[in-house]
Each structure stands twice: as structure tokens, then as C-alpha cells.
């Protein structure tokens, strides 16, 4: 379902190089590709809102609501909310969905506490939850220093050290669910005062309520202290066009290992290429590309929304 990152990159390069307009490095492409993917992803919600306001149809492939939902569905996920303390009705939201976790294995070396990362990148280290197990046992006795794992204590020689980097990808809260069956309703704090005061509307475990503040949800009635799950959208993964440089050569060779494709649906391929080209025009300072890409994107948008 995903769009192959190599196809996009090579198509962009092909168009850019057609008239020797310039070149885009893999690093530039990775950053622009991630930006484009997020831009398209964000746009889905406005489109969804727009479509909800007009009458719908029930056709197999022309139902715009269904199509947008299909685009978003890749990113829908569900996770447990954890109470901030025992018997608390305030819960932390899940930070990672567990998608695209990257692991790196080390072997303990005598008298060595620092281990350099080679698989996990610095951007992954900055935007991920890092977990470490030593000999299969989870530990928090470590720090990340630059591109190094620094253990608090010297591990036994030969012991297996596994580092897992899981992206922090919580994007948008959907539904808060109590006991897998009851949907909690979101309210504002001022509403809570009135709703709690009215004997007819006071929250119950059958019809719970929640406040969403400071990245935490607080459920009512206050007897709800566990069994809370949330559905949410995760952020699309940062795209990576990974490469190797063949020995004795001076060009980038695509390496599918550790490359990350665009997660958007295949039908977005044209859109992705055009938007990457739009940014590429800025990078290579060619207004013609910007104009052509922009007008093409505008035309596509007009077609899809009219």
C-alpha cells in the first residue's frame, strides 16, 4: 500500500535532471519527503471536515468520505493509557504505537560502558523512546550521549545488550474507552462543574466523561483508575531513502534495508512527487519547477474537491 521511496526519489531526480536544473541529495530528499508526507496527512482532516458538510454517496469507489477514511486508516491505532499514579483518575496517553521500532544489538565488552550506535540514527534517538535490555532484562541504568549508549555500570563481557528505539508518534486523540466497552465523552473543565452538579447528568462508569489537558486525560467519575484505552492517530514515519556508496564509486546506491517508504496510499504517489518537486524547486532555486508543480497540484485539488 505504501509508496516506494526509491520510485519517488528517482522520479524527482529524473524530472529535475531533465534539463540539468539541479540535484537533490538523499538527505534533502529525506527531509522534504517527510515534510510532504506530513503536509498531505494534515490535509486529510480538513478534507474530511469539508466532506462531512456535504451530502454523501454510497458508491463503491466514489465515496469521498470512505476514501479519506481509507487514507487515514493506516495511521489509526489503539493503546493503553497509564495512570499517572496508583488510584489516580488521570492518565498519560500512549507515546508510541510500536510501529517501525529499530533495534541495535551490542555485545558487552569488559571495562567498556560506552557503545556507539551505527544502526539507530541521531534523529531516531531524538524522537524515540529508547529501551535497553541487558541479557534479556530491561534496565533504566543508561544514558544517551550523542550517538553513544552509556551504561551506568560495566556489563559482563559477552552479555547481549539490545537497544530498541520506538518513535514517539502519538498525533491526535480519537476516543477514550473505559473497560473496552464504554466511550468516554470529552468535555471542557467549565462544563464539568455543571455536569457534575446536575443529578441527571452526573457521570457514571456507564457514561464516563474526560478532560483532555496537558497531554493527559482525566476521567470521571473519579472511581475510574484503570482499564482505560484510547484510539488515536499516529504520525507517519519519517521517510528514509537509505543508500550505500559502492566501493570505488562516487554515487549513491539505493539500499532497501532500513529505508522507510511513504506510508500514504499509492493513489497519493503523483501528489507526493509533485509536492516534493515543489520543494525541490525551492532547493534548486528554479521558479519554473515551482510554478509547474504548484499549478499541477492546484488542478488536482480542484478536481478532488469539486
Amino acid at each position: 500500500m505504501a509508496i516506494n521511496v526509491d520510485i519517488v526519489y528517482k522520479t524527482v531526480l529524473l524530472i529535475l535532471n531533465k534539463e540539468q536544473r539541479g540535484y537533490m541529495t538523499p538527505d534533502e530528499f529525506n527531509k522534504i519527503g517527510t515534510q510532504v508526507q506530513l503536509e498531505i496527512f494534515n490535509n486529510y482532516f480538513d478534507e474530511l471536515n469539508q466532506q462531512l458538510r456535504i451530502s454523501d454517496n454510497d458508491s463503491e469507489y466514489g465515496d469521498r468520505l470512505k476514501n479519506i477514511d481509507e487514507d487515514i486508516s493506516v495511521f489509526k491505532t489503539i493503546g493503553s493509557a497509564t495512570p499517572i499514579a496508583a488510584n489516580s483518575n488521570t492518565f498519560n496517553l500512549p507515546t508510541t504505537s510500536g510501529v517501525a521500532a529499530t533495534t541495535q544489538n551490542f555485545t558487552g565488552v569488559a571495562n567498556q560502558i560506552s557503545y556507539p550506535f551505527t544502526t539507530i540514527t541521531s534523529s531516531q534517538l531524538n524522537s524515540s523512546v529508547i529501551t535497553v535490555t541487558i541479557n534479556g532484562v530491561s534496565t533504566a541504568a543508561f544514558t544517551i550521549s550523542g550517538l553513544n549508549l552509556v551504561l551506568d555500570a560495566v556489563p559482563a563481557a559477552g552479555v547481549g545488550i539490545v537497544v530498541t528505539s520506538t518513535p514517539e508518534d502519538f498525533y491526535m486523540l480519537g476516543t477514550v474507552i473505559y473497560q473496552d466497552t464504554q466511550e468516554a465523552e470529552r468535555i471542557q473543565r467549565n462544563e464539568l462543574l455543571y455536569i457534575n452538579s446536575s443529578p441527571l447528568t452526573r457521570p457514571t462508569t456507564t457514561f464516563p466523561l474526560y478532560l483532555y489537558e496537558n497531554n493527559q486525560v482525566t476521567l470521571y467519575p473519579t472511581t475510574i483508575v484503570n482499564s482505560v484505552t484510547v484510539s488515536y492517530l499516529r504520525k507517519p514515519l519519517d521517510i528514509i531513502w537509505n543508500f550505500t556508496i559502492p566501493t570505488g564509486q562516487n554515487y549513491y546506491q539505493y539500499n532497501p534495508t532500513n529505508s522507510v517508504n511513504f506510508e500514504l496510499g499509492k493513489k497519493e504517489q503523483t501528489n507526493v512527487i509533485l509536492k516534493v518537486l515543489l520543494y525541490a524547486g525551492v532547493v534548486v532555486k528554479d521558479p519554473t519547477i515551482i510554478q509547474v508543480a504548484a499549478s499541477q497540484i492546484q488542478q488536482e485539488q480542484n478536481n478532488s474537491k469539486s
Partner: protein, 404 residues
């Protein structure tokens, strides 16, 4: 008899009629047993599994075990825990590990069994809220979005309104009238339907509300000059209502005219003719009686300030029945809607939501208003329970002369 097969009925015959469910232990050392009653199993407290616990009596069930599932049921008195299944409200009881072949039975107590009888006639308020959300709210519907709190509020208000004049939710208390002639209003009282006293045959005789007197909301104490006296907290000193005292001490025969020999002896009236026929045997003494008060069943009035029902003195010691309505929300058991009025409640909620929402076309509000009224009328007709055979039976009395 049919078994639950995915329809709305979820209890088997044993669960419904006997309030029992028996589970066979097919795996050695089983600890968790899931029971699927409509009635939620409940413990008085977390320690009330113990028969010696003070809250043991609040448990709504008992557990038994047996080796053959037919007889020799032995009460299970060891420690156990009760939890509710997260997905379907089933009750899960964790016992000590039971060996293969043991039958475990949960027997609901009599109250719990009785409360479940006839339950299919009703829909729960929770189900109404869920059903309404599914059927009436959403994209491409007239109500595209609504807060669930609003639905709950209007559903409960609807249930209250229906309780007053549509639902068959009349409650009744049987009480004896004490010497004080005053009875506290029932805890969930909203309005009375009928007051009756019960004779030796168990037949009801209607007690009428009286316009002859009323209970004052305040009876402050006055000095000789008529000034109201205050206490050291600067508040009026409250005295005993003389109106109530006089009404309670009144000889009601002086109002009804139903004099007796005692009244004659007391000189309350004169037996001019010495006759012993006519109304209560005293001929000619009833001229000018008001037919409204000429009855011997007694009267009552309601003291709204004190929250009491006050009866007339001729009802002292009598057995009375207070029939009243509540609002359907006082107890969980009350919070249910007859299926015959379910549609009326959905439309009540829909209309209430649309009528209180801005930017809704008035013709839409009016349409729902009409639909609501029509559905409510249907519900009233259905619930009034008029049966042809019963009407025929009543009409058989048409040939009987009623003498006045």
C-alpha cells in the same frame, strides 16, 4: 423451551424462572466461573463472602457446589472474589480451584429473582441512550452531532415526564394510620394517585382529599397584641398548628351528617321524630347536607411543608393504601422504559435536542414535535391496556339499575 440463540433474550429458563445457573467443571482445578444473569451479581462488601460478615445479608446470591448437579448442594462458604467481565457485564466468580466434575451453582436470592421477572417488558435507560445514538445521531442524519450528556439529560427528563402520565409506574404503600393521624410521604413520592382504606375483606374504599381544611405552612406564636414573637436567634417561634389539631380532633360525623347514638346522647342533634330509618337511621336530620361531604370513608390532606399526609380522625387505626407515582429515576430498578413507549422516548429526545439547538429549521422542529406527540399518544393507548373482553364485561352491567 427455547434457549438463548442470539436474540434479545439472554437468559435460559433456569436463570429466569429459578434464578439459578449451574456450571459444570470440565477442566480440573478451574477457578473462574462466569455467570450470565440479567441481574448483576453483587456483594455487600469485598469481605461479605464470609457468612459471618455483617454485610453478608446484602449479597444478592448464594453459591453451592455439588458432585452430581442434581442434589446434595453444599453451600460454598470459602473465600471468593467477584468481578465484572469487561466486555459484557457478565459476573466472574473466582473460587478455590475446583476439581473436574464439580457442579457450581449460583442461586439468586428471592428479591433478585422477583425483580428480574417481567424484565423483557422493559428497555433500560442505558440501552435507550445507546440506541438513540446509533439510530438518530451521525453523519447524514438530522442530528449530526450531539453531546451524550444532552441525550442522557433528555432521556431522563423524558422518563420523568412519561412517569407522570403515560407509564404504568404507580407505586403503593400499605400503612396503618397512627393516633397522630399523620403519615410521612414515601421517599420517592411525586404525586398521589389514590388513597384508600382497606376493610376486613381487603376491599379498597377511596379516601378523598378535602377542601375543608389545609395545613398551614407556618404557625408562628403571637403575643396578646397579635405580634409575632421571635426567639434569641431573631427567628419566629414556631407553634403547633391549631388547624391541624382541630382537624385531627374533629368529629367528622358533624361534617358528614352520619350521626350515631353517641352523638345523640351527647346532644349533638335532636331526634325529633324518634324514627330509626333514613340516612344512618335518623330520619329528617339531613336537610341541607352537601353531597360532597356526605361520605363515610374519611378525608386526607397533604402537608407539603412537613411532608406528611394527614388523615381525618375517623381513620385512626385503619389500614390505608397510598398509591402514588414517582419519576422513574429514584431507584435503578425503576429506571426502565416499557417497550411500548420506547419509540415515544426516542422521539421525545430527538425533539428536545432539535428544539433547543440553534440553526435548526423550524419545520424540522415542528415535524418532530408532531411525531413526538403521535408516538406519545400511541404509547398512552397501548399502555392504557384497554382490552375488548374487559370492556364487554364492564358493559354487561348496563342492564343493572343503579339506584341513588
Amino acid at each position: 423451551m427455547s434457549r438463548p440463540d442470539g436474540g434479545l433474550i439472554t437468559e435460559n429458563n433456569l436463570q429466569y424462572y429459578a434464578g439459578a445457573q449451574i456450571i459444570y467443571t470440565s477442566v480440573n482445578l478451574t477457578t473462574n466461573y462466569t455467570f450470565t444473569f440479567n441481574t448483576q451479581l453483587s456483594l455487600g462488601s469485598s469481605t461479605s463472602w464470609n457468612p459471618a460478615d455483617p454485610d453478608y445479608g446484602l449479597n444478592n446470591f448464594l453459591i453451592y457446589t455439588s458432585t452430581n448437579g442434581i442434589s446434595n448442594w453444599i453451600p460454598y462458604v470459602a473465600v471468593f472474589t467477584l468481578t465484572t467481565n469487561l466486555n459484557n457485564s457478565d459476573s466472574v466468580i473466582a473460587l478455590a480451584a475446583q476439581p473436574l466434575g464439580i457442579y457450581v451453582k449460583v442461586q439468586l436470592k428471592a428479591d433478585a429473582v422477583a425483580n428480574n421477572y417481567g424484565g423483557y417488558e422493559y428497555t433500560s435507560l442505558n440501552d435507550v441512550v445507546y440506541n438513540f445514538t446509533v439510530g438518530y445521531v451521525g453523519n447524514q442524519k438530522i442530528i449530526s452531532d450531539v453531546k451524550r450528556t444532552d441525550i442522557i439529560f433528555h432521556a431522563k427528563r423524558g422518563l420523568q415526564e412519561f412517569s407522570f402520565d403515560t407509564l404504568r409506574s404507580v407505586k403503593a404503600q400499605e400503612l396503618s394510620v397512627p393516633p397522630s393521624l399523620s403519615i410521612t410521604l414515601p421517599q420517592d413520592y411525586v404525586n398521589y394517585v389514590k388513597m384508600s382504606w382497606i376493610d376486613a375483606l381487603g376491599v379498597k374504599h377511596t379516601i378523598y382529599p378535602t377542601q375543608l381544611t389545609s395545613s398551614p405552612s407556618a404557625s408562628p406564636v403571637q403575643d396578646r397584641a397579635g405580634n409575632i414573637i421571635q426567639d434569641n436567634f431573631s427567628e419566629n417561634i414556631e407553634g403547633t398548628s391549631q388547624t391541624n389539631s382541630r382537624w385531627q380532633g374533629a368529629n367528622t360525623r358533624l361534617i358528614t351528617g352520619a350521626f350515631n347514638q353517641q352523638d345523640l346522647n351527647d346532644g349533638l342533634f335532636m331526634d325529633w321524630w324518634g324514627e330509626n330509618w333514613g340516612y344512618n337511621g335518623y330520619y329528617g336530620q339531613r336537610y341541607g347536607l352537601d353531597p360532597v361531604t356526605t361520605q363515610t370513608n374519611g378525608w386526607f390532606n397533604i402537608d407539603e411543608r412537613q411532608g406528611t399526609i394527614n388523615f381525618s380522625s375517623d381513620l385512626t387505626g385503619k389500614l390505608v393504601m397510598i398509591e402514588y407515582i414517582s419519576d422513574g429515576l429514584a431507584y435503578d430498578l425503576d429506571t426502565k422504559i416499557p417497550k411500548m413507549a420506547e419509540q415515544a422516548l426516542y422521539l421525545y429526545i430527538a425533539h428536545a435536542i432539535l428544539a433547543t439547538r440553534s440553526n435548526v429549521n423550524e419545520y424540522v422542529v415542528n415535524r418532530f414535535k408532531k411525531e413526538k406527540s403521535a408516538a406519545l399518544r400511541n404509547a398512552k393507548i397501548r399502555l392504557s391496556n384497554v382490552k375488548l373482553d374487559e370492556i364487554v364485561q364492564v358493559m354487561r352491567g348496563k342492564s343493572k339499575w343503579i339506584k341513588s
